[in-house]
């Protein structure tokens, strides 16, 4: 073996390093032709479901997927990814070219995927559904479009309504069967429902809205819509929450937590995502709280002897109708780079087929994506779901625009400052609008 100079060794080392860099670059390439999803063959499908509901994952993995595999002869790999990690994992998977064939996410995420050409338009597939199916799904489908094109098939509807304990209403001298219809009346009733100790500290909140990160903005979305305002203009290019309606909504929101007539405590607490047994309605820490259909269903199922009531979306005085945050819930999308788009659509079609879907929606306790579900035993027998379906025309979703997450968090930051009296509602909305406009301007 000959003698090799240091220069040659250095050259060889650099060569090896360069090869490693190229290999890594290749691994992380976001080539449009990647499409090398985990599924390599046409009969192999990878699916990511959003969330971590054990009942849902058990039903999907043990009932739905085996049935789909039997019917199609395909092999389906299902992964449940909790919402907090869903976007980071999907982004990393897209960058690496290993994103799943089918994946689920909330409606507010769709626009960013569309902007970056990551998901497949589904209009031609939806067109192939029967006319009655399309009509039945119309409400859900409408909320999952971007620029008029269908990109997601919602698996459920979602919305926030006020749920209350009728016994607390009776105890406070309120009619439990005549819940308030305006936000002003909600506050007035909440004052009667609020309990304090001798020092004046609230021991039972008369009313709780969600005030944790993200939840603050969604509570505000409910209030501003009910006050006749909106968060963004129709094109989604400019903030419109810095308005009289926005200020009225935020003043109201702040008044629930601050001042001598406050009716709520634990500002910033995320009660909605706590276990059923820890829900403030159940523990007696609150008499009236915002709830999701799933949360309400779980409470009603776990405490069947409870006497629960649900309030239809209240309006502010002078407005014609009340609204609540909600609309099309999480749904399924198809990766544009998937090599199995036909099988991917079959899987989505299978999911929304009433023969399979009814068991699924019953398991998760959600609001069905089909109007015809009103006549199903699942809805009829539920003590709470009927109220959610009844309110479905009054739900307002978050804007479906690119960079919404950053715009939302910016608004949320200032809402938090207002709720903590760091700034006034007027200042909060003005500063938030200025920053949100800057973020949205990047969308072109």
């Amino acid at each position: 073996m000959g003698v090799i100079s240091r220069r040659k060794v250095a050259a060889a080392s650099i060569g090896m390093l360069a090869a490693a860099v190229l290999a890594l670059t290749g691994c992380s390439s976001n080539s449009s032709t990647s499409g090398d999803t985990a599924s390599g063959s046409s009969k192999h499908l990878t699916v990511w479901f959003p969330g971590n509901d054990p009942n849902e994952s058990k039903y999907v993995e043990q009932t739905m997927v085996p049935k789909f595999e039997r019917e199609t002869g395909a092999k389906v790999d299902v992964t449940f990814v909790d919402y907090t990690n869903l976007s980071p994992k999907l982004n990393a998977a897209f960058a690496a070219g290993s994103a799943p064939d089918v994946f689920g996410h909330g409606a507010a995420a769709v626009a960013d995927f569309v902007k970056n050409d990551r998901i497949e338009p589904l209009d031609s597939d939806v067109e192939k559904l029967s006319a009655s199916d399309r009509k039945d799904l119309a409400n859900a489908l409408a909320g999952a479009k971007v620029d008029g094109k269908q990109y997601m098939i919602p698996l459920q509807m979602q919305g926030w309504l006020l749920m209350y304990n009728k016994k607390d209403f009776t105890e406070a001298g309120l009619d439990p069967n005549a819940p308030p219809t305006t936000w002003e009346a909600v506050k007035s009733d909440a004052e009667k429902l609020t309990k304090r100790d001798s020092s004046g500290k609230i021991t039972r909140s008369g009313l709780l809205l969600q005030t944790e990160a993200t939840g603050r903005q969604q509570s505000f979305a409910t209030l501003i819509a009910s006050a006749g305002g909106s968060q963004l203009n129709k094109k989604g290019t400019k903030a419109t929450f810095d308005s009289a309606a926005g200020e009225k909504a935020l003043q109201y929101f702040v008044s629930l937590y601050q001042g001598p007539d406050a009716v709520a405590t634990n500002l910033g607490q995320d009660y909605l995502n706590e276990p059923t047994a820890q829900q403030p309605l159940v523990t007696g820490d609150a008499a009236m709280t915002i709830q999701t259909a799933q949360g309400a269903s779980k409470i009603a199922a776990a405490y069947p002897n409870g006497d629960w009531g649900v309030v239809q979306p209240p309006k502010f005085a002078g407005q014609s109708e009340g609204y609540a945050f909600g609309g099309s819930g999480p749904g399924m999308m198809i990766n544009k780079d998937s090599k199995n788009k036909t099988l991917a659509w079959k899987f989505i079609e299978f999911m929304i087929d009433p023969a399979n879907y009814n068991g699924y929606i019953k398991t998760i306790g959600g609001v069905p994506n089909r109007s015809s579900a009103l006549s199903t035993a699942y809805v009829k027998n539920s003590p709470v779901l009927g109220a959610w379906l009844k309110a479905s025309s009054q739900w307002v979703p978050n804007p479906n625009v690119p960079n919404w997450v950053q715009a939302r968090d910016t608004l949320d930051k200032y809402l938090e400052q207002a709720l903590n009296k760091v700034v006034t509602p007027k200042q909060a909305l003005k500063q938030a609008a200025s920053e949100v406009d800057g973020i949205l301007s990047a969308n072109g």
């Binding site: 003698v3 100079s5 240091r6 390093l17 634990n266 607490q269 930051k413 903590n420």
Partner: protein, 321 residues
């Protein structure tokens, strides 16, 4: 082994002399030649070199490159060079400076108690007593559990109907908003982190104490030194190197605080627990701005490296003087 080396070297010299003309010597410094033995050594080192290169150096260099670009992982176009605008932007970003202050506060309120309590515990468990092994293990257990898992447990402890408030209620005190109060959240996270870090610091300091020669203690006792004087004049000087290591490592780990913040407070309330690392996570994975996040990461890296070096120089400098 030495004989083999001699034989190989001799054989190579012979070979070079017989067939291969020796290369002309370079002017100036003599060129080092790579022998078979050098190649074998390089072969043994290659797995470690490849590991460090692929999993440490290349990602760091790639991160540095990204910090001069605009890049969303969702985008198909890849990183777009934008010069130093990310750095210019973060220096004007109030949230970034606030996060650095939160990070500094976090380090400053966790580091001293962690080191002092760990030192006291190390002194305590260095002495033989019944059950010392159990006590040492019990104190070390928090270290071997993942920070995320530990944070989940403390999330429950601190929750509104959690164990800590139950204890307060049991002794007649009112509930506290541990994680949703601006004045309490970072302190609550700090208490958890102090508890978590005690075990490893204690073990390191205990190892340092065991390396101090017993003769020094005997000599001190002969000179009439009491327990405190022995600790002050024998133990502490003997532990200086280990203390430098413990302080430097703690600064490095604490300044990168993320998992506990992510689980306990998500950076709130009012940004009072938004550490620099949490802000970087938000930029990179919530807003898909990897370029901006990378520039923040490199500024944080420079600050951590600077503070660590300063603390090491400060502590070791005293010894040399």
């Amino acid at each position: 082994m030495a004989d083999d080396t001699v034989a190989l070297t001799t054989a190579r010299r012979a070979g070079a002399g017989a067939g291969t003309p020796a290369p002309a010597p370079a002017p100036g410094r003599p060129r080092k030649r790579w022998t078979r033995l050098n190649w074998i050594g390089l072969g043994f080192a290659m797995p470690a070199i490849a590991y460090i290169g692929i999993f440490s150096i290349i990602p760091v260099v790639y991160g540095l490159v990204l910090s001069f670009t605009s890049y969303s992982p969702l985008s198909r176009s890849g990183p777009v060079f934008n010069g130093v605008s990310n750095y210019a932007h973060i220096f004007e970003d109030g949230d970034f400076w606030k996060s650095l202050w939160v990070t500094a506060r976090y380090v400053l309120q966790v580091l001293p108690p962690t080191v002092v309590i760990a030192l006291l515990l190390a002194v305590l468990v260095s002495r033989p007593f019944r059950g010392v092994g159990f006590v040492r293990s019990a104190l070390y257990i928090p270290q071997i559990v993942s920070l995320t898992a530990v944070s989940m447990i403390w999330l429950w402890l601190y929750s509104q109907n959690g164990f800590v408030n139950e204890v307060l209620n049991a002794v007649g005190l009112s509930d506290q908003h541990w994680l949703i109060s601006q004045s309490a959240a970072l302190n609550a996270a700090s208490v958890m982190r102090i508890w978590k870090a005690l075990g490893s610091n204690m073990v390191l300091l205990m190892a340092g104490m065991q390396s101090i020669p017993k003769d020094l203690y005997e000599a001190a006792r002969v000179d009439g030194a009491n327990g405190w004087q022995q600790f002050r004049h024998v133990t502490l000087p003997g532990l200086r190197s280990m203390l430098v290591y413990v302080v430097a490592m703690d600064i490095i780990f604490l300044a990168q605080g993320f998992a506990e913040i992510y689980v306990l407070t998500q950076g709130g309330p009012l940004g009072s627990t938004t550490t620099a690392n949490y802000l970087i996570y938000q930029q990179a994975f919530q807003y898909n701005q990897l370029g901006s996040a990378s520039s923040m990461a490199f500024v944080l890296f420079a600050l951590i490296a600077g503070v660590s070096l300063l603390s090491m120089r400060g502590m070791l400098g005293r010894r040399s003087s």
